[in-house]
Amino acid sequence: MSNFIRTIIIIVYLVCASGGAYASLKLPETIRVEPTALTSEPPCDLKIPPAWRDAQVIEGVEIDADPGCSPDNPAWIAVAVKGTNNVSMDTLMQTHFSPDAIIKTDDLDGDGDPDRIVIKLEIMELNGKSPDFPGQVPTFDIAPGVQPGAWVFAPKTSGMSTENFESVRATPLIRLPSPVIRVEQGDIVQIVLENTHYFPHSIHLHGVDHPFHYEFNGNDGVPQTSEMELMPGERRIYQFQARETGTMFYHCHVQTHTHLSMGLAGIIVVEENRPNNWLQTLNIGGGHVRHRSVAIKEDFDREYDLHYHSMDKELGDIIKEYNDPRLTARDMNRRYQINNATEDYFTINGLSFPYSLRESLIIVDPDEKIKLRLLNSGSESIAIHTHGHHAMITHYDGVEHNPIAQIMRDVFDLAPAQRLDLKLETINDGRHSYGEGDWLIHDHREKGITTNGMAEGGSMSSIVYTSYLGENGLPDTSHFGVNLDHFFTKEYWERKVPVWQDLDEAATFGAAAGRTINLDTATRNILLYALGGLLAGLLLYSIFVGRSHIKQYAAALISRIRGEKGGKA
């Protein structure tokens, strides 16, 4: 018996010691994490052909150049401008759009562009749970290795949701954020929501002029006022003919406190009605608008859609935890308390730094006018700061501000759901711009530049002049000695890379070596289980030995209860 106890003591010591430390005179060595030990990925996505950056004409659609690192597939733009019904099957086949995703017909006002627009949206889950294997499917990284559970409105696609059968990565059209929708003033627009998701959803057209229908469904997307939730497998049409222009917002209005944060939110722009105004109906992933509307082309040299969003990790984790939709619904609808929640992920156009550099750079040249459309779909106000520039606020929530009263700022506060249209002028006069450079644009709430609390991440991007743009489409920072490579490793976001370790040769701020008995987790677990087993054995043994006592005690207890009953009677 004493041998047994001794064994337990030894194991307990080992388990405890593996976590503890002991004192010494000399401090531990500095550890520098070697770059080769990290899973680094190329700063630019190698799957994207460089030819996509060029200015080009596809199906008669003029597409502006986009010197960025990950420009949109030009075929997407061509299809979004012409409609899936007006392009060749071959162009369509380069996109994964369903052949009925965007249908454009009927020039009702005879001005050379189609006025009946049907846009079909599906709802897709990103980084969800599988009952077959540990891990997420289909995956979407907002930063290297960072995969928040999310839902998006996606254009109706064709075929698989993953890149292919061997991959778990989502196909490029299925991504954060929900796509930017562009329609023309006076167009008869039908947004057809095909609920491919396993939960009920709806669409609310925030700011877009839409009638409140008495019949059918209220057309407003709100289950508490005018329509029932759209169940999985069902389809609903939201129809409108907008009289007013502006940068607006669409989102799901079912359990809005969770569904919006999960990603069911996007920008919708109503553009001025002009002749021959073929609009880029969908801007996948937001960012650079490579086929601008007639009105914007007249007044501006470039246009960017900037969708700021925030997500709560704990909320997204719910869909990673359960496969059973009843449990997901329980946790989301009844257990999740948004009043106690904190935002963890901050994205611009669905991505966080450094991926934001791939797609959401504001690339400019001197003496240009740039149209920026900002939306904040996060749950808190944000304060976007433009380094090196003051920009003019021209529109609030889609409505033009009195031109005389328009003001210039370098911090733009956006309340939740708010939109701002900015006119950024790259005139080097000390006010509009301080000159050429790689100027940061970021949320000045400091948590906005973190990813789950890890800086520098979040919705940070740059206003970068082409003279500061590298060949690969990322800002060229190498001549400053700036190296962004460690941001492109998943270990950085797992907090495993000492941020300042490479600032000097000595690695003054490297990691300090530990002084513990280094048991790997597996061995430690085995020891813990062995300990558990031993204790369980001991317990069983003691029960076995003392069973006569237990029996006596139980008998006494029973007789006492009987006695009490007897007393009562």
């Binding site: 060749s88 380069q94 052949p99 294997f133 499917v137 698989m160 059968f165 497998g233 496969n323 369980a536």
Partner: protein, 363 residues
């Protein structure tokens, strides 16, 4: 006494190790490159995604017309000026079709040299910007609504098949309503498995009863006939699409699912059993267990009995009769029966306990 202790101790000590092993199995890292199902089917080499639609030339028009409108069928001729198939091939019988197109097992045999290079091929047909598409390319047929047939095979016999053993037609229905039988799912097929003979020619009529897209996607077919080993029907409902394959000559079980995000995970999963079948596919609703199961816990939800007193008498009676039919009440009744059985079995237990006593006394 000592021997018994050792056995109990050993058992108790090994138990946690088993748990540990299980936990490690479930926690295999690196979700990036693994799809659980991939491992189910041996011989899946790495694929180049770009080639997915662009390698094989096996377009067959059987009598299955997937378009609902005759208008689309008419457009067909117009759409395919660049392909060897013309509208007539619609009418051709499979056998003639076969002779006409010289299909061989070698996937490299193409009628169009440009087909390997998708971009080149695409450039050639950029002039038919009409309302209706009807695409026939590389075993990939799609209409203007996205109804799709991929990897159809009417005549190529898999190795091990001398002839077609039988011709079968299977109607597969898909939709949310078929998930009602399986708590915890949202989408499902009407059946979870189908049995066919080896070498049989199977025509699937895939009826999607929802108002969204669904797919009937089969994996694990021989790759020398079926590109990526796949056969794929896709349609936005309510509508039917049909496609035909010839199944391999050996016993096997193939995965059938809908690949739209979370549809398989939420129940739209089944298997095709060829002959005696192979290894079962996991997590098919009502058929095979999940690899990873959620943790369920009982919730303290309000029950009908709590509000009884507030109701008037007739209502109370009604509620009681209603509640008797409810599963909660049934559970309580079963609990009561269990307790009664327990009470009656006390004498039996008493007999056993003294038995143990004697064993101890012996020691």
């Amino acid at each position: 006494m000592k021997a018994r202790f050792t056995i109990i101790f050993l058992l108790a000590a090994t138990l946690p190790f088993c748990f540990n092993a299980m936990a490690q199995q479930q926690a295999t890292p690196d979700e990036h490159d693994q799809h659980a199902q991939h491992e189910q089917h041996s011989g899946h080499e790495q694929s180049e995604p770009k080639q997915e639609e662009a390698t094989q030339s096996e377009h067959d028009h059987s009598g299955h017309d997937m378009s609902t409108s005759s208008e689309t069928a008419a457009e067909h001729e117009h759409t395919h000026k660049d392909h060897s198939i013309d509208a007539e091939s619609h009418q051709e019988k499979p056998v003639q079709d076969h002779a006409h197109k010289d299909h061989s097992i070698d996937a490299e045999t193409h009628e169009h040299p440009s087909e390997h290079d998708h971009d080149v091929h695409l450039g050639g047909a950029a002039d038919h910007g009409d309302m209706h598409h009807h695409h026939v390319d590389d075993g990939h047929i799609m209409d203007h609504e996205g109804t799709m047939i991929m990897g159809q095979n009417l005549d190529k016999l898999p190795s091990g098949c001398k002839s077609i053993s039988e011709e079968v037609e299977i109607t597969v229905r898909a939709g949310r309503k078929y998930a009602q039988r399986f708590p915890g799912t949202v989408f499902a097929f009407d059946q979870q498995q189908w049995h066919v003979k080896p070498c049989s020619k199977v025509t699937f009529h895939f009826t999607n009863e929802d108002n969204i897209r669904h797919q009937f996607m089969m994996h694990g077919l021989p790759r020398y006939i079926y590109q990526l080993g796949m056969f794929h029907l896709e349609v936005t409902g309510p509508k039917t699409v049909s496609g035909t394959i010839i199944v391999p000559g050996s016993d096997d079980t193939l995965l059938v699912h809908c690949d739209i995000a979370q549809h398989m995970e939420k129940g739209m999963k089944a298997q095709l059993v060829i002959g005696k079948g192979g290894q079962d596919i996991p997590s098919i609703p009502g058929l095979t267990p999940y690899n990873i199961t959620d943790v369920y816990e009982a919730e303290d939800l309000p029950k009908i009995s709590a509000s009884e007193n507030k109701q008037d008498k007739s209502k109370v009676v009604r509620e009681i009769t209603k509640s008797l039919a409810k599963s909660d009440t049934q559970n309580y009744l079963i609990l009561l029966i269990g307790a009664l059985i327990g009470l009656f079995s006390i004498p039996l237990l008493r007999k056993i306990i003294p038995g143990r006593k004697t064993s101890k006394n012996e020691e």
